[in-house]
């Protein structure tokens, strides 16, 4: 595998994760717990879709086969998608969504902080812009961790359940393979073990302050690096891609 191929795969991981979690968040539109939060969730979804668009556009360029961001988003199947498993998990109740967002936002916050220093200028520039958005997302979801964790008995239970259910998808976020190794040696991607240390520290602090417990789940799910997803992704893509695919070669 050469650097170009590795970079393409790496960009798909970044872009797909943003696209899929943005899709999930957009499902909340019109169904949020209060009008203000509806607006906040759509806002965050919009940031994710914007970030995915920039990254996938660049991925297409790196690949060099003339594929656009839309080609990559709409014309790849489940097995070609590289998003983290946690991003495709169902919204569940508001607490589960907040748990998912908190786990992922914290990860993305530390990851993009490092990506700002990438030797690849485009990646660094995208990370620079996105990190500001992520900082805000994390602030928003962290506040909700406190409110739900230390709110009522019901909200506490719901959030703890959400964390417990999603915990098995957390270790996968820090897995590294030969793609990471190659890009780390080139100074393009960060070492995920550094991200992991930062992530654990922050997550532990917030969970403790929110009067919650770190889940004790031992079983770990993985597979997104090879395009092995949960069953949810197929349904998600079927919905996302159907109009685009039903009219081949149409412009929108």
């Amino acid at each position: 595998m050469d650097i170009q191929q590795a970079k393409f795969q790496y960009l798909l991981r970044l872009g797909d994760s943003s696209l899929i979690i943005g899709h999930r968040l957009s499902e909340w539109c019109g169904h949020g717990p209060i009008l203000e939060e509806d607006i906040a969730l759509i806002n965050i979804a919009l940031d994710f879709v914007g970030n995915a668009t920039s990254i996938l556009a660049y991925a297409g360029k790196v690949e060099g086969k003339g594929r656009s961001e839309d080609d990559l988003a709409y014309l790849r199947d489940e097995r070609e998608y590289r998003n983290l498993l946690i991003t495709e998990q169902l919204n569940g109740d508001f607490a589960t969504t907040i748990a998912r967002q908190f786990i992922f936002d914290t990860y993305m916050y530390f990851l993009y902080e490092e990506l700002k220093n990438s030797k690849d200028e485009t990646i660094a520039a995208i990370a620079q812009k996105s990190h500001k958005e992520i900082t805000y997302h994390l602030r928003h979801t962290t506040q909700w961790m406190f409110r739900l964790g230390d709110g009522t008995t019901e909200s506490h239970e719901r959030l703890q359940n959400g964390l417990n259910d999603l915990w098995m998808f957390t270790s996968e976020m820090f897995e590294m393979d030969e793609i990471d190794a190659l890009l780390i040696s080139e100074g393009i991607a960060p070492d995920l073990s550094i991200i992991k240390a930062n992530w654990e520290k922050r997550v532990n602090e917030v969970i403790a302050e929110a009067t919650l417990q770190i889940p004790t789940t031992l079983f770990k799910q993985k597979g997104s690096r090879e395009g092995k997803h949960s069953e949810h992704l197929g349904f998600l893509l079927a919905e996302m891609q159907y109009v685009h695919r039903a009219f081949p070669n149409a412009t929108w």
């Binding site: 957009s26 169904h31 717990p33 709110g151 009522t152 909200s155 929108w252």
Partner: protein
């Protein structure tokens, strides 16, 4: 004796009220805005609450038919635009609820009226969005018609409503344009795309011209509301302007307005339209449109499922406050 005093008192009140009404009407005639704490006739207050809350509910319910296409938008660019647009609708709902709240009804009560079916919202959102072209048709026709109405209302006499309208109109023109752009792209696209655009126009045209409200002979009470600048123009006048502006836009992209009787009247300089099916309009208003039940259920579900979240946030804030006071 007591009787006389009461009578005198009552007369004074009536005179007082008469004076207040006089100065209220003079203010409006002079083009001044009425502000929340100013004296206003009860009928003015009631009518405003009714209109503004209907308007707010329409924005919120309107998020549903459009929101359900965000996940299926056919390009990432369209997805981002639609997200931004639906977010604006939520924002507009919020501005409007806060304008109604200045009249002393809080949002909890307003939403209760919506959820129990007591309050109305625009008839248009009880029609289903069946294809992607419907998102174009809504932006072009529904937002287009709404803008006609809202630009007029921005000149209305109630300060908070008028200011909300100014802000909304500014943001709404992007909605209108993105809708037309979707329709234009489809109309210029493959034959299937063009067919999709025409089908959407066929289905949304009549509901769009109906949503501007019953014709003037069926809409009572308008004189006083016009004098008070609660209503700025008659439904038929706004409808005429909307039709006059929209027909050339349809012609430009090669789509046909689904009204065989539509023709340009040289004498008046306006288009005359075919017979509007008002039975359908009143039926939808009454709750018998294709999506009334679904929309109301979605809003009710969101409200019910959000209850524990709202409670938790309040409980947390109370705990924080107590801790702060203790330390």
């Amino acid at each position: 004796m007591t009787f006389i005093i009461i009578k005198l008192h009552l007369n004074n009140l009536i005179m007082e009220e008469g004076k207040q009404l006089e100065s209220f009407e003079a203010k409006i005639a002079a083009g001044h805005k009425i502000e929340p704490k100013d004296w206003m006739p009860e009928a003015y207050r009631k009518q405003l609450i009714r209109m503004m809350s209907q308007h707010a509910h329409s924005e919120i319910v309107g998020m549903l038919p459009e929101g359900n296409w965000i996940t299926r938008a056919p390009s990432l660019r369209r997805k981002a635009i639609l997200l931004a647009k639906v977010q604006d609708e939520a924002g507009h709902g919020l501005y409007l609820y806060s304008a109604v709240e200045t009249l002393g009804v809080d949002r909890t009560e307003l939403l209760h009226q919506l959820h129990t079916g007591k309050a109305k919202y625009s008839s248009i959102f009880n029609y289903p969005t069946l294809t992607w072209a419907d998102i174009g048709a809504i932006g072009w026709l529904v937002d287009g018609a709404a803008i006609m109405n809202q630009t007029a209302l921005a000149r209305g006499s109630y300060g908070p409503y008028s200011r909300a309208m100014v802000r909304i109109c500014k943001e709404e023109s992007f909605h209108n344009r993105q809708g037309y752009e979707i329709m234009m792209t489809l109309a210029k696209g493959t034959s299937e795309q063009k067919q999709m655009a025409q089908d959407a126009l066929n289905r949304w045209w009549w509901p769009s011209i109906m949503m501007l409200g019953p014709s003037d002979d069926q809409s009572p009470n308008s004189d006083q509301l016009m004098r008070w600048k609660v209503k700025m123009e008659s439904n038929d006048a706004i409808r005429e302007r909307f039709i006059d502006r929209t027909i050339p836009q349809a012609e430009f992209i090669g789509l046909t307005i689904p009204d065989k009787d539509m023709k340009f009247d040289e004498k008046t300089g306006h288009y005359s339209h075919g017979k509007i099916n008002w039975d359908e309009f009143f039926d939808v208003i009454k709750g018998n449109g294709p999506c009334n039940a679904k929309r109301l259920k979605d809003r009710n579900d969101a409200d019910k499922n959000g209850r524990w979240v709202r409670d938790a946030a309040i409980a947390y804030a109370e705990k924080q406050l107590k801790e702060k006071q203790a330390s």
